[in-house]
Symmetry: C2
């Protein structure tokens, strides 16, 4: 194909759009790939659609190569299957719900586990039919509370979702690994840099699960690199601190600590009173911070949960949400404190907490709060703290909870070793071992070799297709614009006519036809009344990896070949240019 | 690609599904192309998706060839643009409406006129940018009152919708003609037989408009073939009957006609009373039937309309709806008669009707009720009719309305000549000259050559993509199953292994690889434990046009080549088969 800039439906912009939160968002708008249609949804302009189709084609090829079969479901679906699995209500306000003209309930599907399960149940009935993996590339809907960063978190987006069906757990392992391999090949071909992190499966309700995170500043997910591998913060397991002997420790003492409702003011006060400690100064790590939350279960019952963490750490809300799922976390508000007069806000101590305490509030502590560790903590009275309060001697907890923020240097059991790095990434793929949750809820059984009905075990596997376009833009750009990897470039060659003379236009037309002949698609910048400088700027912004300039030296039989990645430019004889470019792509 | 029947996700069915209303519906389900997902929506199985993709590819190629540029909009859209054009309410219950988590109103778009208009307004501002034609291939939603016949009338379906933008009417004519040509090329390539009929534009609110109707028994649209061309019944204009002299006609007379509330009983009564007429017997065509309807306008105001037609014709509701649009028709119910005591149900006569009559009900008559024509009609009293009531002498009408059913032999002005045939067809394409309705409502203006702001004029053009798959199936099948035209066949060759011996399987694998090498995709029926008869039946049902049978004669170096259309079978030497098949496709 040939696309003439004089006719192409596109306007490049010099300015970053006001709402752009990520480089990919800004550049895809500025280079004329996308326009905003509504909150969290975008219209694809011609060049954008070409890029999206390239990405889609690579994904489809790799899925087919792995032997997965493509199907396609509607997006608008009846409530009943999602009610059978509980997701109709579990999804909460993130699900777009509507009614048809008869008042029947429908939803716009966020994923299709239920429908795939029912389809396999519809067609298959025997172990001989399994294993099978099916996929679709389809538009999905999520009513995000905060759509952001263009394609990175939208309300209407394209996903590739696959589902595997196996007779037993060993089969599921094989299917899972096939998908994992196919995903690695896919992302490699797309030019997406990624890490595979172990992850909690959250609302999907599965067991083993890994995420493909593309490292990027604009990412919403924090991941952890350790000596043993990478993981999502939700999946990290911190090594517990060993118990120590507390026989020689001083007794606990309550002190007046006026105006010390925060950890900082408490540490400052402690260090300004030398009689409290002489061997070293106190730090926030010596304090024990107790935070109370409200948890709501699926039946709507509410309970309180108190969590103790060393004062130098915050509680990581993602880790907490994952740890208490399916209960949902909310803050402990003033009216909740009013119901628990034993809790003195800012001065809560372990003695007031625990299922066996008068408050009856469950009390879980960070694994670093080991037996024999000694703490400054609240004395359950305004303006008072207790010093040298020893775990296992002066207080007990109902158990451990591992939800403190992860820091570089932490010892972790999963993945093993010291935490080396904390980085941000964009989730571009996710693979789950779902197990039998959906098959059980929707009664997907097949006959096994012995003629018995057995429940099928499933996996579910997703790639964010529109998001992948943004990830590529996020990982491959410079200050001048986009830089498409050749595997997904919307067009192979950007041909700039650097001049106004007719021979240049004729030469460009001839060259474009030859490039087409060789299977290469071309943008020709044939605009009149546009300066060569503007043409070059637009070419760099649009980001086609191969730029050919047909200009002054054309009369001498030469054109200029620019590489958008290498940032180098060479002169090539006109009769060698097609072969030279063909070799690149 | 190769698809092994032993692994392909598909189950063929011997029985016609209970809900199948059309051959295409039944066969696409039975051959394993589709499964029903919900009322009016379908899941595409692997073979179905291949067929859909072939159809989509042909449409895309022809749109690109015509110079139209592809974009892609979301399906979930905010209310505001559709409110600006009035379509938010005009669409009535056929529009799927929903709210997001903030309570903002959204819709699932049935077509995208508004969004395309706004997109061009967003990017373009000068006559130099025009003309431009943009299109998308995208999923659409309509909450049909009665989804039917599988893909023929669904609630979620794929459409190709194009929009043209021109500075003036002459430009619109050119763009319209380009689309008309592109549609003809598209349907020709798809193997769809069609007629182009002039059509009313209905709810789209335009002027010139034509439909591409695919003749098929299962069609919902009746079209008319005349000496002058084809038209939708809504677009037919009947030639008025000339006035005749009534000087010598007998005077009108009222007679008691007990128990004659229907036309049939009235004709029977009349003919059993020879004193009423002696020259010939009466027929239904001598009676004048007056029917009253309720019309509701867009503001919700209701009025009555009485229509007089010859008693041998029904009123065609489609013609009536088109004629009174944007008013909406509903029946005149018992309570409405109660409000008009002058109207005697079953015996309504013209004397009680008309804007100047006591009832003040507008009275419009069929063009055949010409001045001087004489009728038997109601006498506005139970059990009484009036005979020899002459139009222009004894009664008047407020005007003409051309909404009676069209019959073969009718004289029509549009298209000209005698009606030769009434046939049923499926609307598979529709082209409209929209004019400035949307551009005006959404303020799409550009600067003209004189620097003045002028409103752009638009066209809108649709192809039902999923419907086209059904139309192809509807037009190309026999009692054994589907017969895909080679241009859209999901797979090029169906290779049947007619036997159980290993050499046949090895031979098939080798041949499939060679066919792949030659660019041909193949289904291999490698199922064990399935009889050759079942394999042949499935091959015929699935409808791949080229079937190769590798069986007994394989040992002698021969395979059998069957043509699903020609119904003939020849033996071909194994070393010639690839070239032979390659020539077919």
């Amino acid at each position: 194909m040939q696309y003439r800039m004089s006719e192409l439906f596109l306007r490049t912009l010099r300015e970053t759009p006001a709402d752009a939160e990520a480089a990919s968002h800004s550049l895809l708008i500025r280079a004329g790939y996308l326009r905003r249609a509504a909150a969290g949804s975008y219209t694809w302009l011609p060049l954008g659609l070409l890029a999206l189709n390239k990405v889609t084609a690579v994904i489809r090829e790799e899925m087919n190569r792995a032997g997965f079969q493509e199907v396609h479901f509607p997006a608008l679906l009846p409530k009943e299957p999602y009610e059978a699995t509980g997701r109709w209500s579990e999804y909460g306000p993130a699900l777009f719900r509507l009614q048809d003209r008869r008042g029947a309930d429908y939803l716009l599907a966020p994923t299709h586990e239920e429908m795939f399960t029912l389809l396999v149940k519809d067609l298959y009935s025997s172990y001989k039919d399994l294993p099978i993996s099916l996929y679709q590339i389809q538009t999905k809907y999520r009513d995000e509370a905060r759509p952001r960063a263009g394609l990175l978190r939208g309300r209407e987006f394209v996903m590739k979702d696959s589902y595997s069906f196996d007779i037993d757990d060993a089969g599921l392992e094989v299917s899972y690994q096939k998908h994992r391999d196919a995903y690695q090949r896919t992302f490699d071909r797309l030019g997406i840099k990624y890490v595979i992190v172990s992850a909690q499966s959250g609302a999907m309700g599965g067991s083993a699960s890994e995420e493909f995170l593309a490292p990027a500043q604009a990412g919403e997910d924090t991941f952890v690199l350790s000596e043993g591998g990478a993981a999502n913060v939700e999946a990290i397991v911190i090594a517990p601190t060993a118990a120590i002997n507390f026989d020689s420790l001083p007794a606990a003492q309550v002190h007046d600590t006026p105006s010390t409702a925060t950890i900082d003011t408490l540490v400052e006060f402690s260090n300004s009173n030398p009689e409290l400690r002489i061997d070293r100064s106190w730090s926030a790590a010596d304090t024990l911070k107790n935070v109370v939350f409200k948890l709501t279960n699926q039946q709507g019952d509410v309970r309180a949960l108190a969590i103790g963490v060393p004062g130098d750490r915050e509680i990581d809300m993602r880790r907490l949400e994952a740890a208490v799922y399916p209960e949902v976390v909310s803050p402990f508000a003033e009216e909740d404190f009013a119901k628990h007069p034993k809790l003195v806000k800012g001065y809560i101590g372990p003695q007031a907490l625990g299922l066996n305490s008068p408050s009856k509030i469950q009390y879980l502590v960070d694994p670093r709060i080991s037996v024999g560790s000694s703490w400054i903590t609240g004395a359950n009275a305004a303006g008072k703290h207790v010093f040298n309060l020893v775990m296992g001697r002066d207080f007990q907890a109902d158990g451990n909870i591992d939800v403190a923020e992860v820091q570089v240097g932490d010892n972790c059991l999963v993945p093993t070793g010291k935490v080396l790095e904390l980085a941000r990434g964009i989730e571009v793929g996710h693979i789950f071992q779902l197990g039998r949750k959906y098959a059980q809820a929707l009664d997907l059984k097949v006959l096994n070799e012995n003629g018995e009905q057995v429940t099928v075990t499933m996996g579910s596997y997703g790639i964010g297709v529109t998001r992948a376009v943004a990830v590529i833009a996020e990982q491959h750009h410079d200050e001048k614009g986009l830089r498409w990897p050749r595997s997904v470039t919307p067009v192979d060659v950007h041909l700039v006519i650097a001049g106004k003379d007719e021979p240049l236009f004729n030469g460009a037309t001839k060259l474009a036809a030859e490039l087409n002949q060789a299977g290469l698609s071309v943008i020709i910048d044939d605009r009149m009344g546009v300066s060569v400088g503007v043409k070059f700027n637009d070419a760099e912004l649009i980001g086609i990896p191969t730029i050919i300039v047909i200009g002054k030296k054309y009369a001498d039989g030469q054109v200029e070949l620019r590489d958008r990645f290498a940032e180098q430019s060479i002169d090539v004889p006109i009769d060698e240019i097609v072969a030279t470019v063909k070799q690149l792509s």
